[in-house]
Symmetry: C2
Subunit: 465 residues, 2 copies
C-alpha cells in the first residue's frame, strides 16, 4: 500500500459535510454523455475517484444499455468490485452483455469472495466458460468456494488470509508481513495453524504489535471463540457475528482446517438482506423483488400471493353467504360486518409481526413461547373488551339498536382473541414445521380473522334476533 503515500499531510476535513457524488446535479448526465460519444478520457476523469459503491449506484442510475458500454469503455480502469454492490437483476444484465474476456480480466483483479459473489448467480455454462479462462490456482480456489452450498459461509468467505505456525516469533511474523508481496489487501489478525493446516486460534494485529518480538505465536495465540464451519448457513453466521460483536471469524472445513476468513462487512449485507426479506415477506412481496426488476417479473411475482389472498377472501365470502337470510332481514349487519373482520385482521397482523420477527432473531424460543402466548391472549382480550365497548356505543348512536351493539361487542371480543391466538400460534406452528413463518403466516392469519369475524358477528346476530 505504500505506493499510495503522499508526502504532504492531507488537509483536515473540518466541517465539510459528506456529499453524495451521484446526487450532484448533472453528474449522471455527464457520464451518459461520455458513454454516448465513447469519450474514454472524459469518462475516466469523471469516474476515477468514485468508490466502488458509488460506481455501482452510478451504473444503476444509467439507462440499461449504457451500463455494459461504460464497463467496456473503461476497460481495466473499471473496478469489478462495483458489480458486487449492484442488485442481482442489474448485475446479471451487465455480465450477459460483456465479453467473456472482459469478465475474466475483471474477475482476476478481485478478492476471492467478490469473485464468487459475481460468479455464483451466472448460469452453469457461462460460469464454466469463465472459469476455464482463469489460471489453474485461481480457478481451483474459486471452484472450491463455489462447491459449498448456496448461501453458506464457504461462499461468502475470503480465501486470502495469513496463517502461520505456532513456533514463529512475533518478530518473524512482523518482518514477514512487512516484506511479503501479495498478502491480502486488508487484514485484522494472523491465524495460527498446525502442520496439517488445522486452525488453532488467531492473534489480532493490535496484540501482535503489543507483544515483544521474541515471543512465539503459540504463546500469544488465543483460541477463537467463534469458529465458522464452511457449510454453515450465512444467516446463522450473521446471528453469531451480531450477537458477539465480531469483526472477523475463521472458516474451517469438516476436518478443522482453515479455509477462509469472514469479515463483518460481508455480514452486514447478510443482515440487511435477511431483514429485508422478512419485511417484504410480511408485506406479501417476494424476498428477491428489487427496485430494478421489470414490470413483467413483478406482476407475476405479486400475482401468486394475491391469488392466495383471493382464495382466502372467497372462503370468507362463503361464510357470509351462510347468513344471507339474516343479511336480508337486517341490512345493518352488512354495513357493520367488515368492521369486525378488519379490526381482527389488524390485531392479528400486529401479533404476527412481533412473533415472526422474534422467531427470526431467535428471541422467541421454546422456553418463553408459553409466556408470550399468554401475554398476547391477554392483550387480545383486553383490547377486545375496550373496542367492544366503543363499537357498542357507536352502533347504538348510529342505529339506535342496543341489541345490535351487544352483538358487535361480543363478536369483537371473540375475533380479537382469535386474532391474538392465530397471530402467535400460526407462526410458531409454521416454524416448527420448518416453513418460513415470515412468508406464509399472513394469508393464514387473515383467513382466521375474516372467517371468525364474519362467523361470530353474523352467527351471534342470527341467534339473537
Amino acid at each position: 500500500m505504500s505506493e499510495e503515500t503522499d508526502l504532504a499531510v492531507p488537509p483536515a476535513r473540518g466541517t465539510e459535510p459528506e456529499r453524495d457524488p451521484i446526487e450532484v446535479p448533472g453528474f449522471v448526465e455527464a457520464v451518459a454523455g461520455a458513454v454516448a460519444t465513447s469519450d474514454v478520457g472524459a469518462l475516466r476523469e469523471l469516474v476515477a475517484d468514485l468508490h466502488e459503491s458509488d460506481l455501482a449506484r452510478l451504473l444503476e442510475a444509467l439507462p440499461g444499455e449504457d451500463r455494459p458500454r461504460l464497463v467496456e469503455l473503461l476497460g481495466p480502469d473499471f473496478d469489478f468490485t462495483a458489480l458486487t454492490e449492484l442488485d442481482e437483476t442489474a448485475r446479471l444484465q451487465i455480465l450477459e452483455a460483456l465479453s467473456t474476456r472482459t469478465v475474466v480480466e475483471g474477475l482476476r483483479e478481485l478478492e476471492s469472495d467478490d469473485a464468487v459473489y459475481i460468479l455464483e448467480d451466472l448460469d452453469e455454462a457461462d460460469k464454466q466458460q469463465i472459469l476455464a479462462y482463469l489460471p489453474t490456482p485461481e480457478r481451483a480456489a474459486l471452484q472450491r468456494s463455489l462447491d459449498y452450498p448456496e448461501a453458506s459461509a464457504g461462499r461468502r468467505m475470503q480465501t486470502e488470509f495469513i496463517a502461520l505456525p505456532p513456533f514463529w516469533t512475533v518478530g518473524q511474523t512482523l518482518d514477514y508481513i512487512g516484506e511479503t508481496e501479495g498478502l491480502p489487501e486488508t487484514f485484522f489478525e494472523v491465524f495460527v495453524v498446525d502442520p496439517t493446516y488445522r486452525h488453532s486460534g488467531s492473534v489480532p494485529l493490535d496484540r501482535l504489535i503489543r507483544t515483544r518480538r521474541n515471543v512465539k505465536l503459540g504463546e500469544v495465540v488465543t483460541p477463537d471463540r467463534h469458529v465458522v464451519q464452511a457449510t454453515d448457513d450465512q444467516e446463522d453466521v450473521a446471528r453469531v457475528f451480531e450477537r458477539y460483536n465480531l469483526i472477523s471469524a475463521p472458516v474451517v472445513d469438516e476436518g478443522g482446517r482453515l479455509v477462509g476468513v469472514l469479515t463483518v462487512d460481508d455480514i452486514v449485507d447478510v443482515i440487511q438482506e435477511e431483514a429485508d426479506e422478512d419485511l417484504k415477506a410480511l408485506g406479501g412481496v417476494a424476498g428477491d423483488e428489487e427496485l430494478s426488476d421489470s414490470f413483467w417479473y413483478i406482476a407475476r411475482s405479486r400475482f401468486s400471493w394475491l391469488l392466495l389472498n383471493l382464495i382466502a377472501a372467497n372462503i370468507a365470502s362463503f361464510v357470509i353467504s351462510l347468513f344471507e337470510g339474516e343479511l336480508q332481514k337486517m341490512v345493518a349487519l352488512a354495513v357493520l360486518m367488515p368492521i369486525v373482520a378488519s379490526q381482527g385482521g389488524n390485531a392479528g397482523t400486529q401479533t404476527m409481526t412481533v412473533a415472526v420477527r422474534a422467531l427470526a432473531t431467535r428471541e422467541l424460543r421454546a422456553s418463553n413461547a408459553r409466556r408470550i402466548v399468554m401475554r398476547e391472549l391477554l392483550v387480545g382480550l383486553f383490547n377486545g373488551v375496550v373496542f367492544a365497548v366503543i363499537m357498542a356505543a357507536v352502533v347504538f348512536a348510529r342505529f339506535g339498536l342496543a341489541d345490535l351493539g351487544y352483538v358487535i361487542g361480543l363478536a369483537m371480543i371473540i375475533n380479537l382473541v382469535a386474532a391474538a391466538l392465530g397471530g402467535i400460534l400460526i407462526p410458531l406452528g409454521l416454524d416448527r414445521l420448518k416453513v418460513d413463518p415470515a412468508v406464509s403466516s399472513g394469508p393464514f392469519v387473515t383467513t382466521v380473522t375474516d372467517v371468525v369475524g364474519f362467523f361470530a358477528f353474523l352467527g351471534i346476530a342470527s341467534l339473537w334476533f
Copy 2:
C-alpha cells in the same frame, strides 16, 4: 493483553459445532438456584466463561426479580457490558434495582460508548447522581458524549483511540503502542492529528506493519474518505458504513477535531434496530415494543394503532351504508363486497411495503420515483384485469349472473389501480412531509382501498341494476 497468553497451543476445534450455552438443558435453572441460595461460588463458576452477550441472554431468561440479585451477587465479576446487550425495558428494570455504588463501579470498567449507552436512557436525576460519583475526567468524557443529540454518532462513538502527530515515525508509533499501558482494548488504526487535534487521516494497523520504521506517519497517512460528524444521525452513519463497507470511521466535532471513533459492531446494532422498527411499523406495532415488555405496556401501545384502524373501518362502513337500498335488493352484493376490498388492501400493502423499504434504504429517490410509480400502476392494472376475469368467472359459476360478474370485475380493476397509486403515492407524500412513511402509511392505504373497493363495487352495481 499478554497476561492472557497460554504456553500450550490450544486444541484445534475440529468439527465441534457452535453450541449455545444458554440453551443447555438445566443451565438457567442451575443459575436461578444459585441466585436463590445466594451461592456466590457456584454462580461464579456457572457464568465465569460466558460472553457478555450470553450473560445478557441469561439475564433475560431469569425471572425479573432474580436479575439485579445476580448482578449484586457477582459484584465486580459481573461485566456491565452485558447490560448493553439487553433490551431497554430489561436494562432499566435492573439498573433501577441496583445500588448507585454498584452501577458506578460497573460503569467505570466499561468503554465510553458502552457507558453512554447504559446511562442515556436513565432519567435525568439518576444519571446526574451516577455521574457525580465518577472521577472528573471520566465524568467529563461521558458528559461530552451525552451532550450530543440522542441517536447521534456522538452518542455511539468510542472516545478511546490513538491519535498521533504526522512527524512521528512508524517505528516510534509501533514502540509507543507496544509500551503504553491503557490504550484502547482493541483498535484497527492510528489517527493522525495536527497540534490543534484536527483530524487529517488514519493509518490502518496492517499498513503500519508493512511500512519501514523510519517513514513518518505523515507520509503514509491517507485521508479518511468517510469522516463522521458527531451530530450526524446514527441511521445516516449506518447507511454510509453499509454502503462503503467500513470497519471503523473517525468522528469529528464542528471544528474538525477528532473526538471519537465509530466501529462497525455498533453500527450493526443500528442497522438491525432500524430494519426492526420499519418491519414493526408496517405491522402496526410500535418500534420500541420488545418481547420483554409488560402486558399493560403492549396493550396500550397496540390500542392506539387499532383505534386508528377502527376509525378507518367506520369510514368504510359509512360508504357501505350509502348503498343500503342496493344491498337490500341484492344480498349477493354483501356477500361479495369484502373480496374486492380485501384484494385491494393486499395489493396496496404489497406496493406500500416495497415503497417504504426503498425509501428507508434511499433506493427510491426523486430521480427514479416517476418510473416506479408508472411500473406500480401497470402492475396494478395488469393484476386488476387478471383478477377481474377470475372473479367474474367465479361469480358467474356461483350466482349464475353474468352482469354481477362484470360489476365485480370492473370494481376489481378500479380498486387494484387505486391500491397501486395509494401504495406508492402515500409513502412518497408522507416522506416529503417528513413523516415516517413506515409508521403512517398503513392506515391511509387500507382506508383508500376499503373506501374505493366498496364504493366502486356497490356504486357500479347501483348504476348497472
